[in-house]
Amino acid sequence: MLKNYITIAFRNLRKNPGYSFINIFGLAMGMGICILILLYVQHELSYDDYHENSDRIVRTSRAWFNQDGQVSLHLGHAAPPFGPLLEQDFEGTIEEMVRFLEISPLLRYEENAFVENRFFFSDPEVFEMFSWEMIEGDPSTALTYPDGLVVTESMVKKYFGDEDPMGKSIEAEIRGMNLQFQVRGIMEDVPENSHFQFDFLASMEPVVQFYGGQEAFMQNYGSNNFATYLLLPEGYDYQRLQEQIPAFMDRHLSTEETHLGEDGEPVTASDGTMLFLQPLTDIHLYSNLDSEIEANSRIEYVYIYGAIALFILIIACINFMNLSTARSVKRAVEVGLRKVIGANRWSLIRQFIGESVVMAVLSLLFAILIVELMLPVVNDFINLNLELDLLQNYTQLFWLSGIVLFVGLVAGSYPAFFLSGFQPATVLKGSFKAGKVHERFRSVLVVTQFAISIALITCMIIVYTQLDFMRTKDLGFNKENIAVLPVSQQITSNYENIRERLLGHPGILNVSVASRVPSGRLLDSQGTRAEVDGELQDIDFRIADIHISHNFLETFDIDLVAGRNFDINLASDSTEAFILNESAVETIGWNSPEEAIEKQFLYGGRRGRVIGVVNDFNFESLHQSIAPIVFMIPDDRIRNVAVKIRDNSREEVLSFLEEQWATLRPGYPFTYSFVQDNFDEQYNSEERLGTLFGFFSLIAIIIAALGLFGLASFTTQQRIKEIGIRKVLGASISQIVWLLSTKFTLLVIMAIAIATPIAWYSMDQWLEGFAYQIDMPVWSFVIAGGSAIVIAWLTISYQSIRAAIVNPVNSLRSE
């Protein structure tokens, strides 16, 4: 019997190649896209779970609070003493503690020299906590040597080629110091699904020296650059440890940070700053703190992609249901006959569901082909190495079987129940016509398909509009033609002379240095006191600081709204002058920028007066609202040189700078970036979302149009006699085309009505995530709806025009 079912299923496929193609190709495309998305989702969900201890590791983050309890800054890193102190205070609970410190040294082995951005110092227990595989060397001792260095396989190739690297020494230039490391171990490359990747792990010992010895190291609560991980016992709920952290903070930070609150109550250390524990496996999807080793993703994106996968699959299933029911008239006789011969309803349902499962399996084969063809492109686009590996990856096999069953059952269910319900007496009489109920059901399906497509198109347009808005918005300063280069010892110690030398080039308009430049994050801040109502008051809001040179404001075209700029001829400006932005003025409580001028201001250890106020400009990306900022002139913590370049002389200036930097920062490769590009890069994840929406809506609309095409061909076929009669009675071709198109147009309009509020609501939610957002563009809904109508018209026009021009003699001749 099974053979009979399969025979008939395949012969049906062969007999109607067009129909089979639409059905199988549509399904395959839907399934293929769905598989691609699921591969990505599976990858996103798998972050860091390859560690044997993945469910026992937590990361320690550090937050600071304003007086009203609001988080003012939350870093994914902590200061160096916290790890050892936690380990000591919670002995027995914390089994291991590992810190990582990231730097970018210049590494040199013989003639191979590169600046490495994925170089970490770490505590020696790292291999006990994490499951990174060591290929050579002893994981338990490699980093206990003060000069110990572990390199990954790909770095071995890069530096040593075919040589055996074990025991070789690598020279590292770090902050002007030269260190010798010895390769004590080789490890496999860090898997892609890790929330951070590294190429080198070095012993923590040299770091202790940078910080001035063990004692100073353990006193430094200000250098929050250490990613700190803890290993907890099996089955231990990290929340239990979290509950004990406030007391821990008070114990260790009490003397330094306790001060009186507004109502005179003593404020404890833990009211001002706290440590938070995050499970390792949550970091990639749930953690978007002010500092992360690498930018993480968001669980919302996983949800969005998952939903899109489901939608596309549903659209493809709908096609299948639609076409199967449309063709049901042709299968009706078979159904009637089988019933007469003795088939009961259940066996018919089994047959038709079986057929759709066969169809789904066939489509899956094509889908796998599609996936294999598209994976390279997709991988290139999302910068990953996803792969479909059914033989070894049982999860994927499980998912695929799931998809096939889902498609088979969902797509097969309606045709199965619908077809098996036919009364043999009616269908065998030959007077059978598909009923109205099923007509309505099909309409619902078409509306659903188009609603999904229209919603996707709308979302795409809105994402792109927001992206465009962010790229072109006036940030309050001029971001164009500013190159940013790394600073070096030589530059800071001899800054004014070097600046003169650079300005000698006709293409260079201005030069300045700064601790941070626009497009970076504002992560530095210190305690603030300011003169309000005639007396000095503590300012409980975080005011971020930027250390700059005198020409910074001019270089970036930042406008002063009150007071004056720093003056190089006034020595006191370098020690006791501050410039604030408007937000800072407002936060402190001064009524106007003018009022702020000449007010006393204390920042960290520096005491002085406000000499100027600049307008609010977007220092950070447009995800962030403008934060209070203070500018001052010290020459420490300078990290960047900003060079304003004349229009059209970018090339020559860059080659000039390259020459200069070769002598100013010898040994280092020449690197630079442009502020404008850095800003654009901050919108990469939105860009990616926009592209994906674009791609998916294209696929969705293709599948939907494919289905509509098939459906239109069947309905026109059913009405062929009616069309013939109308033509004989004098209807024109255009009237016939109009007649055939109106119904589908109405369906698409209904789809627009359904899609609009859904897209509106979800995009409204999405836009909430931006401090600066566009108004919901009404035209995007018009365009999405309009294009859907046009596509629908184009799709059905072929069928309706063909039906309309046919000679009525042919359609009316009865057999």
């Binding site: 009979n4 008939i8 049906n12 007999k15 006789v333 003795g342 088939a343 009961n344 009364q423 009489k429």
Partner: protein, 226 residues
């Protein structure tokens, strides 16, 4: 074998009741060859459908082998379809996607006949109706008469007690029709009870009893009896 008592079939539309069959009493004995005749719309096909369990009567009682059909479950009905009743249609209703062989074989699949036995039975049918050479062809490749021969072969392969034929020769020319009718007569002689619907007096002549319907009422039984 079959007893119909006061069978009514009607359709209710708003306030009007349209009768298709009215007060039909009919008894069919095993071995009968009955022809149902009458003008278009007389209710012939409806009667046949009711006899073949494809339609239910609105009122009245129907006994098939002394079992009340009006009380049968769906399952019992399809069991009877499998084993006791065969159908032949005016439009043949062969499945175009299956070969002659497979079309004839299909009822056996629903009866769960073993593969070997199935082969033997189909071979016997092919032989009996002289269509061995055509067994791998698809229905559209056959003439109407040949298709109906396959239809008959399919109907009787399950050795039914009752063969219902709705205008079996309606689409055939006279030579083919006679061939089919002779086949029916032969089957009848082998003990199969046959009820056929037809317009043609000539075809009716092959039967041994005629039921004449007009507007849903039996007007005459066997006008040739006298």
């Amino acid at each position: 074998m079959i007893k119909l008592k006061k069978i009514y079939k009607y359709i209710d539309k708003r306030f009007q009741r349209t009768f298709i069959l009215k007060d039909i009493d009919l008894e069919v004995k095993e071995g009968d060859f009955i022809t149902v005749m009458g003008p278009s719309g007389a209710g012939k096909s409806t009667l046949l459908n009711i006899l073949g369990f494809l339609d239910d009567a609105s009122e009245g009682e129907y006994f098939f082998l002394d079992e009340p059909v009006h009380n049968l479950t769906e399952k019992r009905k399809s069991d009877y379809h499998k084993s006791h009743i065969g159908f032949v249609f005016q439009a043949y209703h062969l499945i175009d996607e299956l070969t002659v062989y497979e079309n004839i074989e299909m009822p056996l699949l629903y009866r769960k006949v073993k593969s070997k036995k199935r082969k033997a039975m189909v071979a016997e049918m092919l032989d009996r109706f002289n269509i061995v050479a055509k067994k791998d062809l698809f229905p559209p490749q056959l003439s109407g008469g040949q298709q109906q021969v396959v239809g008959v072969a399919r109907a009787i392969i399950g050795s039914p007690k009752l063969l219902l034929a709705d205008e079996p020769t309606g689409n055939l020319h006279s030579e083919q029709s006679e061939e089919i009718m002779e086949m029916f007569t032969k089957l009848n002689k082998e003990g199969v009870t046959i009820i056929q619907v037809t317009h043609s007096e000539k075809m009716a002549g092959y039967g041994n009893r005629i039921v004449n319907l007009k507007d849903g009422v039996v007007v005459e039984e066997n006008p040739y009896d006298e």
